[in-house]
């Protein structure tokens, strides 16, 4: 510091002269220095402001793109849902309405039977002969009145025949009535049959209508998404985030399951596959175990694709039902094979572990206890079961995997937008801060040269 002094023996005077000199210099250089500081401010703060604006525009573009992707993907999803529902309707029509003609025929037959029965019931009951009254009145004439025995006998015969005729007519009427009653009573089961058939028709039509109702619901949703309103965007975004979180959770759990599965078969695989070589630091046997676990997941994906639960590969979803059925059986067979292999490996693992333990004990000079054998049987069963069940559980991972892939596009993009947005804010804040600092420097500068400035102003005003 002392090297800057003009008169080292008089430091205070030296400092005072330096300060005064600098004041005069800075006063004289005020205009160019102000311009230089302003330019610097424009350069740094303005540049940052522009960067922030550019980031903002990038964010807006990304948001718009993300919005479009979200809408388009959901439109496609809705279309797919509707198409699936149409397929279901078709299947429903084929399944439920296939036997409708038979039902209709049954109904027709029943109605025809009722019709003919009614017609039969409607037939006029045979009445007693109309001349009965005349015969009766003739028969009622007293024979004694004429005194003719022939007439009397004839009249008696007439009376007898009138009574017989009445009896016959009555019997006939009773017979006819009884037959009608029989016909009428036989109508009851036909009615029941019709009622049953009608209920059946009602149920089947309800099922078809239910599916149609679903289509209506999906159509409404589809139209709402197509409109692309803010509320539908928010709804879709929230749904995608929820899906992402849940699928991530399930995938994480499945990851642990895969790890357990791997641990279960890695050791016995070293017995089957030569482990003398490593690839990327891993034993070939470990890689083989990993391949088995991965194959299970792949087969699971194919299985889910074949039954139409997931739609990762359009080629599979576009296959005919027969081909999909073949794929389904092939996947099931493959999974069963791998599950059986894993169960066998799990048993082998336990055998190796038991041998290892026995060897270690033998090396340590100990003898094996009987209790160990019983325990190992339970462990063998447990491990074999685990080995058989885990592949099937892992096969289910296809569903959350598809959900994760679908939702991650939006969620990751949203996160990226958030990060870029924050960067934009940060740049804007730094720009504003630098601008404030530059302005403060200019004010301090002006404050430092206040004495020469005031003197200069005084001289200017006097002149």
């Amino acid at each position: 510091m002392s090297s800057f002094y003009i008169w080292p023996q008089m430091p205070f005077l030296s400092i005072a002269v330096l300060v005064a000199g600098s004041m005069v210099f800075l006063y004289l250089a005020r205009t160019p220095l102000h311009l230089a500081l302003d330019s610097l401010n424009d350069g740094i703060a303005g540049g940052m402001e522009k960067t922030a604006a550019w980031i903002k525009s990038v964010v807006e573009k990304m948001q718009e793109k993300n919005r479009k992707v979200l809408l388009e993907s959901n439109i496609a999803e809705s279309e797919q849902k509707i198409a699936q529902e149409f397929k279901r309707v078709e299947a429903s029509y084929t399944k439920h309405l296939a036997d409708y003609p038979a039902l209709h025929l049954k109904l027709d037959e029943s109605i025809a039977q009722i019709d003919s029965d009614f017609k039969e019931c409607g037939q006029v009951v045979p009445e007693a002969p109309g001349w009965n009254d005349a015969v009766e009145s003739i028969a009622s004439i007293k024979a004694t009145a004429s005194g003719d025995r022939v007439i009397e006998k004839m009249l008696k015969e007439l009376h007898k025949s009138a009574v017989d005729g009445e009896k016959l007519a009555l019997a006939e009427m009773r017979k006819t009535s009884s037959r009608r009653h029989k016909i009428l009573s036989s109508l009851a089961p036909v009615w029941k049959k019709i009622l049953k058939a009608m209920t059946e028709v009602d149920n089947k039509v309800s099922l078809v209508l239910e599916t149609s109702g679903k289509i209506e619901k999906y159509m409404q949703e589809y139209e709402k998404i197509r409109d692309g309103g803010e509320d539908s965007i928010d709804m879709l975004s929230s749904r995608a985030t929820k899906l992402f979180v849940f699928s991530m959770l399930v995938i994480t759990v499945a990851g642990f399951g895969a790890f357990v599965n791997f641990q279960l078969i890695a050791l016995p695989m070293s017995e089957l596959v030569p482990a003398g070589t490593r690839v990327l630091g891993m034993h070939v046997s470990d890689i083989s175990a990993l391949v088995i676990v991965t194959l299970e997941v792949v087969l699971g994906i194919f299985l889910m694709e074949a039954i139409g639960v997931t739609n990762i590969f359009p080629q599979i979803s576009g296959m005919t039902l027969g081909k999909r059925r073949t794929l389904f059986y092939a996947s099931i067979l493959g999974l069963f094979f791998l599950a059986s292999v894993e169960a066998a490996l799990a048993v082998l693992r336990e055998h190796i572990a038991a041998t290892n333990a026995a060897t270690t004990q033998a090396l340590a000079g100990q003898t094996e206890t009987a209790a160990g054998t019983e325990g190992s049987q339970i462990t063998v069963i447990g491990q074999a079961t685990l080995g058989f069940v885990l592949p099937w559980i892992l096969a289910m991972v296809a569903v959350p995997l598809e959900m994760l892939i679908e939702s991650s596009q939006h969620v990751l993009s949203k996160l990226l937008i958030l990060v870029i947005k924050m960067l934009g804010y940060l740049v804007a804040i730094i720009g504003h801060l630098l601008s404030t600092i530059m302005k403060t420097i200019i004010h301090i500068y002006d404050a430092y040269i206040i004495i020469p400035t005031q003197i200069g102003n005084l001289i200017k005003s006097k002149s």
Binding site: S270, E271, N356, T360
Partner: protein, 224 residues
């Protein structure tokens, strides 16, 4: 055409990754050398020494690891001093059989009566170092079962190369104290200190002069 070129590139890159990634197991293997002192007072420790190797070292070997037993006698730098060699198969079942077989070799060694007048520790260490280097194992361990008091036969010269123990972890196991050590512990301490300086000066990776037999498993795990 472009697709074909791209596919070829992808294939070549994958092949390159796998070929560069493929390696043999040597870098991941552990080679252990056990030096058993059969000279002087330490000859009495033979059985306990074999027990430590059987219960402490052999079970810790994993498929691919190797173990060699070398005796320390009057002239240890001799191939006849190699009393047993074990290289574990990668199949666990075979490895177990080999372990049990080697345990039998160790039992035979313990049962045989052998002793030496002089103690050539350096010669055994040089023999062991050569063996460990030949294995090219990623981890190389040397366990010395001795009282660490070297007495060379007249006419025998032992000097280590500068890189004699390069990449080798050395541990003195079950070091018993001699009568003179009990009378003056400083003698023992000085002796061990000299050994430490000597092995570290000849590029040893580490030195442990007081390794307890119960800590052998942790020691191997730590060095692996």
């Amino acid at each position: 055409m472009i697709i074909k070129t791209k596919l070829s590139l992808i294939f070549l890159m994958t092949a390159a990754i796998f070929s560069s990634g493929c390696s043999d197991n040597k870098a991941y293997e552990t080679a252990i050398c056990a030096l058993a002192d059969i000279s002087g007072t330490y000859a009495k420790e033979k059985k306990s020494m074999v027990k430590i190797i059987q219960a402490g070292i052999v079970p810790k070997l994993v498929p691919g690891d190797s173990l060699v037993l070398i005796t320390i006698d009057s002239n240890s730098y001799n191939d006849e001093n190699i009393k047993g060699k074990l290289k574990l198969d990668y199949r666990p079942s075979q490895a177990n059989k080999q372990r049990l077989k080697f345990a039998g070799v160790l039992d035979d060694f313990a049962a045989k009566k052998a002793s030496a007048k002089y103690t050539d520790i350096s010669g055994a260490m040089m023999l062991c170092s050569g063996h460990l280097k030949s294995t090219q194992a990623g981890t190389q361990l040397m366990f010395i079962f001795s009282d660490m008091k070297e007495e060379l036969k007249p006419g025998i010269k032992r000097s280590f190369n500068n890189d004699e123990f390069e990449n080798i972890d050395i541990a003195a196991m079950n070091v018993i104290k001699l009568n003179a050590d009990s009378a003056d512990p400083q003698i023992f301490r000085t002796r061990m200190s000299k050994w430490k300086k000597r092995v570290l000066a000849h590029s040893a990776k580490s030195w442990n002069g007081t390794l307890d037999p119960t800590e052998i498993a942790e020691y191997i795990d730590e060095k692996r």
